[in-house]
Subunit: 421 residues, 2 copies
Amino acid sequence: MRKVIVQKFGGTSVADTEKIKNVAKTVIREKNNGNDVVVVVSAMGHTTDYLVKMAKDLSTNPSSREMDMLLSTGEGVSIALLAMAIQAQGYDAVSFNAMQIGIITENVHSKARIVNIKTEKLKKNLQEGKIIVVAGFQGVTEDGEITTLGRGGSDTSAVALAAALNADRCDIYTDVEGVYTTDPRIVPKATRLDEISYEEMLELAHAGANVLHPRSVETAKQFNVPLRVRSSFKLDNLGTLILGVDKMEIYKPVTGVAADLSQARIVVCDVPDVPGQAAKLFGKLAQEHISVDMIIQSYARKISNTNDIAFTIDSADLDKTIKTLEEMKKDLQCGDIQINDNIAKVSIVGAGMIDRPGIASAMFETLADLGVNIRMISTSEIKISCLVDKEDAHKALQALHKVFELEGSEIADVKGDLPNV
Amino acid sequence: MRKVIVQKFGGTSVADTEKIKNVAKTVIREKNNGNDVVVVVSAMGHTTDYLVKMAKDLSTNPSSREMDMLLSTGEGVSIALLAMAIQAQGYDAVSFNAMQIGIITENVHSKARIVNIKTEKLKKNLQEGKIIVVAGFQGVTEDGEITTLGRGGSDTSAVALAAALNADRCDIYTDVEGVYTTDPRIVPKATRLDEISYEEMLELAHAGANVLHPRSVETAKQFNVPLRVRSSFKLDNLGTLILGVDKMEIYKPVTGVAADLSQARIVVCDVPDVPGQAAKLFGKLAQEHISVDMIIQSYARKISNTNDIAFTIDSADLDKTIKTLEEMKKDLQCGDIQINDNIAKVSIVGAGMIDRPGIASAMFETLADLGVNIRMISTSEIKISCLVDKEDAHKALQALHKVFELEGSEIADVKGDLPNV
């Protein structure tokens, strides 16, 4: 029986007509493998920026409904052009926008979630042997309102289509070769993973390895869609397969290590130990749209009957956070507020660490041997994160990568600049 | 009771965000008159050219289905931007594409005809006090395929929407001030007509006065929609109202005069007088997509038993026509083929000439007095056309304009270059 493969190409892959021709070749290659192919594409390169600029010319606060109308035209262009490029190679292709297929979302603009995908039209056209090109990022409500899916939207479209069609695989084509054990720019011996579980991928993504938007990985996990991250340029490289932990052959306790250099730590000292103080503090921060990552509250000191509450935020939110906390100081009846943005979060991630004791202590020992001071610790079932001084982050990452046996023999193909320390 | 007014703005009126802001003001002005307003817009300025260029990069012969998918995105952009611009002025507006409304067309790509327009969504939104912005030029089939309406498509969208909503008027905003008695570039005393009938407008359009595409006028005539051609820039000028001849107060036999300088005359001499020769000749020309305008066949000459068949074509088709005729010469068993592209067609148009004898003879006399030789004559119920030498066209037009009392006291606001003679 023929397999159904969903492919997804982002905006940089379809940025101009030459690139669209290349995408057409990649699509046809999969079709020639004897598979049914559904291709999801984003808007061309800088189209979205250009459309947003015009909207801002007309309105300081354009309505999200009309923004969705405007932005959804971007994929309308790329799907039609890709279908033409495939046809020009002598293959039958047909493009559909979200409204034509029935990619039904909630009635929320600019960040709608998909609730249902109608498959009649897709199945009929696949049966006729056609390659189907679908607009990513967009949806439609039951009432015919056009919506968009927000950040990572096209990845999510692809995964949701794969789930609806019960596809054999969803291939996300990108400019990296897959998911690595760690950032190859910091650890040159980083290895591309052949497989990784959804859960590990999610923890790595949140820990700073931004290959896929977490939302698309969550959707893939929910519907158990095998997801492959692979290079648009090196087609013989199969990239990394992301799948359910139950389907993996777990051979190492740790799958990857990551460092997040863009965090800042805040300590709110001497907060009176009465109920509701944490709720008050973090409620206010949420209200200001400040995302908080690690949170640690010390045991209440018996003499003063106060706590220290420490947490980390994105450095970009630092000024806003300080302003918010200064305003709350009286209300919280707290003491000093200490700021440290010279820190980094180093994490190890692995589904294999579940029920395998000693992983955490191995991490702490490694850092101790390096003379790296651990300032905060936070753990989940498959992740351990330590907050360290920023200047220690690279050597910590390199040592952990080695200790947990993630080193490859070849030096990875490094792209981009090294993050500043 | 509130009136429903449909307004239409073309691509040059929405070419950039500054122009879109001006259109928003014109729309709001009509809303402030106490009317319900539906606005139809085309794609921004050169959008279509840009999209077509990309398609040509990808395919020498892109499928018309995918071209329609591609081109329909152009209006998606302009409707969203115009809705934002109206909202920014504090008015409630909502944009819809053809699929959302249900502007149903035949299942033909690139030149579909509208067969039905669903009005539920339009009426509901008008009742809620919203200004509705609709994508022109596009439609959708019953099966959800996106179509486009071809040349003059947005004008036709506007007229069809006005018909479906039983609108009080359809205003076509353009860069001219209305319909004139003749080309103001040739006859400075040309007057803007306050009223003209659908039929006269059609005859004038075909005679070279290209203010509206004939198709939109035909639709307006069919559904009896009062159509106003007016200036985007001079809002206090009401332009020209185009309406049913029964609703007009006819006070002059001739409404307008026009000259078409882009024609060429062909005479096929000595065609044997046997049945089927004309069918063979014009069938072949139609097959080659050569449009024929005037056709005259002389009485068969008794001695030779042959006819001369004369006809006019667009000069642009001249080379193709000569080539086609040379190939047919043997088959037709005809004599010489005479070519003359130094000619012009001068026409007078007026619903008032029906049942009013002497109009034709007044035209012929006028030309005779000028010493202008008439080379061919063709007539319809409301039009008389004479083929004359090209160098006589301007003086003929000026004289006819005067004889039929079309002169205005003011000199018209002339735009554009004088056509070459």
